[in-house]
């Protein structure tokens, strides 16, 4: 299943395609008759000066009440089925605790290893412009094993943030005093963005982090390397 970049983005993609198809059909169902009526029944001197009598049609009214009802209930039910998968992490998922703060992220791995990413660690310190994800210092990257489902338990230290995994197309708010969850799996090595999706003040737009997806073996090695200089007491020095 290498061709799918990330789970559960594939479910979103299917939902998107179903919706897009239905929307285009509905748009045409409204637009085509409207265009026809607008041309055919335009005011013309001597030809179409007066509107003609039209009988109310109960059948039509019922038709355009019932069909949309069926369509939207179908969509909601399809979404229900997908959402169960998108929300509930597979049993073997690796659990990572994420704590958001103004403005950065703390990732805590099962063995206690922590990684911090700050708003100023994703930008060029001189120009304050975003770096490319691969240009960010590895020290600030959260390593993620390839082909492995990850369950994120999210909370916040101060205000509400939102953890959005760009390739996996999932987002969930990180609310102080609560623990929320989401899961994802990335199947290709590389560097991927995480963004904050809930407005949180001055540096909201720089509150990003980079996920570095590596082969499982490399991840194990990295995980057991222990914490280097990236720890909370160094936060002030950055």
């Amino acid at each position: 299943m290498k061709e799918i970049l990330a789970y559960p983005a594939n479910y979103w993609q299917t939902m998107y395609e179903i919706w897009l198809f239905i929307s285009v059909v509905i748009y045409l169902v409204v637009f085509l008759p409207a265009a026809y009526f607008l041309i055919k029944y335009r005011y013309r001197k001597g030809v179409n000066e007066k509107a003609q009598e039209v009988k109310e049609s109960k059948a039509l009214e019922v038709l355009w009440t019932i069909i949309p009802t069926i369509v939207v209930i179908y969509l909601a039910t399809h979404s229900f089925a997908f959402y169960r998968i998108q929300r509930n992490a597979p049993e073997n998922a690796l659990e990572i605790k994420v704590t958001a703060f103004m403005w950065g992220w703390e990732f805590e791995y099962p063995n206690g290893k922590k990684v911090y990413s700050f708003f100023n660690s994703v930008v060029n310190p001189e120009t304050n412009v975003y770096l490319k994800p691969e240009e960010v210092n590895d020290m600030f990257k959260a390593y993620i094993p390839e082909d492995t489902p990850i369950k994120v338990l999210c909370t916040s230290r101060d205000v509400i943030h939102s953890f959005y995994v760009h390739p996996a197309k999932v987002t969930e708010d990180c609310v102080p005093g609560r623990i929320t969850h989401l899961w994802f799996q990335i199947n290709q090595q590389g560097d991927y963005w995480v963004f904050c999706r809930e407005y949180c003040g001055t540096q909201h737009s720089k509150m990003a982090a980079v996920l570095k997806v590596v082969p499982k073996g490399e991840f194990e090695k990295w995980l057991n390397q222990g914490v280097q200089s990236n720890n909370p007491s160094d936060k002030q020095n950055l």
Partner: protein, 539 residues
């Protein structure tokens, strides 16, 4: 019914304007205030758009950006999308029901002056040192943080606007229900009146929830209570629930009157009564009632239990049904009509198709499986700019043109109105359609800066061009409306030949509207265009 020889109501002195209780003058004051704030909010949006033109911060700091976006959101919501309907409602509602004024004229003046006071406070927040930077939603705990700016201003603004809305809503509901001239039954009422009735009922039910929420916010910030502060046992999601319990229905406060205006204009320019008028009325009330049962879709990713999300996804998508009914009925009103493509008709048709795109993109936002990827992204922003931004604004501008002869006694320039519409449609679709795409690609909302992803840069560039064209189009439309008060041709009392009651009085109407309260005959109906022709023949 015609009254001759009165000075038009608007040629009054300043003192008379300030102390007036005349619903028409108050309507005009609402309209002018609303439009001025619309232009302020529009300019702040253009500033935001300029900043997003390229990644990096070129023109302003993050704080300035956040403030500009907050100003844009708050003002567009409360001064334009809600405020402008106070203008149409006050001016037209008594005329349409054959009343000389609203039920409580002094209360009506008070409503406006509350609105005015809120406007003054809003201007004060634009001064340095008073900047509010918490977006129009003002979610705690962020709004309890000093980074958010002076929350007290926000709270007082909401309270003043809330008092204004409540007083105005009660006033217009009472007027509508008790002061209709003989012969105007509930069934014969204009759809404009039905939608304003539903809209005002939503205001009465919803405003207290928002007032409560912001009061608790104020107490949390300044009086050490802990409703929303999790470190002291509060719950930040309580605020979101209270806030959206009002602020979702309020989108129907904004859009239902727009539907009312669209119905009036579609009927008049097709020379036909609205197809399925009864189902239109049921649809209005269906939207109003369902509107109170869907607010959780604003919180689909906020940590509420999953089963609640699923429940509210069903109620949310069901709103598509009554709105669909309205769109189908409008389209079938065109069937076998005699359609005149005047400027207001073109604005109305544009509004319907913009609403259709906005509505179709609203459905997936009610599906958690879709929303999970685009919540708080630019996709959402594009969606509500199609419905509230464009459909509403086009309907309101259509209304300005449609009732222009009624308001001012003169005609606007048809050519410039159409040029403005072309610019607005090109600009807005270029802008908002690409905003959908950048949203689908993941661009988060409320970002002053964004990483240099190639497709995002290109999309943002084009959006900024679109926004400039849109802004220019609005400017042309507003200039046309302002200049035509002096340059426009003198208008006939009933230039569109509509039997709706507001057109049966002279333009502009005399200060007391009707010399004699009209008795509407059995065969009269606001959409019975034959009736009007018969009346002409009789004379």
């Amino acid at each position: 019914m015609a009254a001759v020889g009165y000075r038009p109501y608007f040629s009054a002195g300043l003192k008379e304007w300030i102390f007036t209780t005349d619903h028409k003058k108050i309507g005009i004051m609402y309209g002018v205030t609303s439009l001025i704030f619309f232009l302020i909010a529009g300019l702040s949006a253009l500033a935001v758009r300029m900043e997003l033109y390229q990644p990096g911060l070129q023109y302003m700091s993050e704080d300035t950006y956040n403030q500009a976006l907050t100003v844009h959101g708050v003002i567009m919501q409360f001064w334009w999308a809600v405020g402008i309907w106070s203008s149409f409602g006050n001016y037209l509602l008594p005329l349409m029901i054959g009343a000389r004024d609203v039920a409580f004229p002094r209360l009506n003046a008070l409503s406006y002056w509350f609105f005015f006071a809120a406007s003054v406070l809003a201007i004060i927040t634009l001064l340095p040192g008073n900047h509010i930077k918490m977006m129009w939603t003002g979610y705690p705990p962020f709004s309890l943080n000093d980074n958010a700016g002076p929350v007290a201003f926000y709270t007082l603004i909401i309270h003043l606007l809330g008092a204004s809305s409540l007083a105005s809503a009660i006033n217009l509901v009472v007027t509508n229900l008790t002061m209709r001239a003989p012969g105007i039954t509930l069934k014969k009422m204009n759809l404009f009146l039905h939608s304003f009735l539903a809209m005002n009922v939503i205001q009465i039910l919803g405003v207290p929830a928002l007032a409560g929420a912001v009061t608790m916010l104020l107490m949390d910030k300044y009086f050490q209570t802990a409703f929303f502060d999790p470190t002291r046992g509060g719950d930040p999601l309580l605020y979101q629930n209270l806030f959206w319990f009002y602020s979702h229905p309020v989108v129907y406060v904004m859009i239902l009157p727009a539907f009312g205006l669209i119905s009036e204009m579609i009927a008049t320019f097709s020379r036909r009564e609205i197809f399925g008028k009864t189902s239109m009325i049921f649809a209005i009330w269906g939207i109003a009632i369902l509107g109170f049962m869907v607010w959780i879709h604003h919180m689909f990713t906020s940590g509420v239990p999953d089963w609640i999300r699923i429940l509210f996804s069903y109620t949310t998508v069901l709103i598509g049904v009554p709105t669909g009914i309205k769109i189908f009925n409008w389209i079938f009103t065109l069937y076998k009509g005699s359609i005149r493509f005047t400027a207001p008709m073109l604005y109305t048709l544009s509004a319907i198709f913009m609403f259709l795109i906005g509505g179709l993109t609203g459905i997936p936002l009610g599906l958690p499986a879709f929303d999970i990827a685009v919540h708080d992204s630019h996709f959402v922003v594009a969606h509500f700019h199609y419905v509230l931004g464009m459909a509403l604004t086009l309907a309101a501008f259509g209304g300005f043109h449609y009732w222009y002869p009624k308001f001012t006694g003169r005609m606007y320039s048809e050519l410039w109105a159409k040029i403005a519409l072309v610019l607005i449609m090109i600009g807005s679709n270029l802008f908002y359609f690409l905003q959908f795409i950048v949203g689908l690609e993941g661009m988060p909302r409320r970002y002053a800066d964004y990483p240099a992803i190639d497709s995002w840069i290109r999309l943002h560039e084009l959006q900024t061009y679109g926004a400039m064209i849109l802004g220019f189009g609005i400017l042309v439309a507003v200039a046309n409306l302002i200049l035509s008060t002096k340059l426009g041709k003198k208008a006939d009392g009933n230039p569109w030949q509509s039997p709706s009651l507001e057109w049966l009085v002279p333009s502009p109407p005399p200060p007391h509207n009707f010399d004699k309260i009209p008795h509407m005959p059995e065969d009269w109906d606001p959409y019975n265009y034959e009736w009007l022709e018969k009346q002409h023949k009789k004379q």
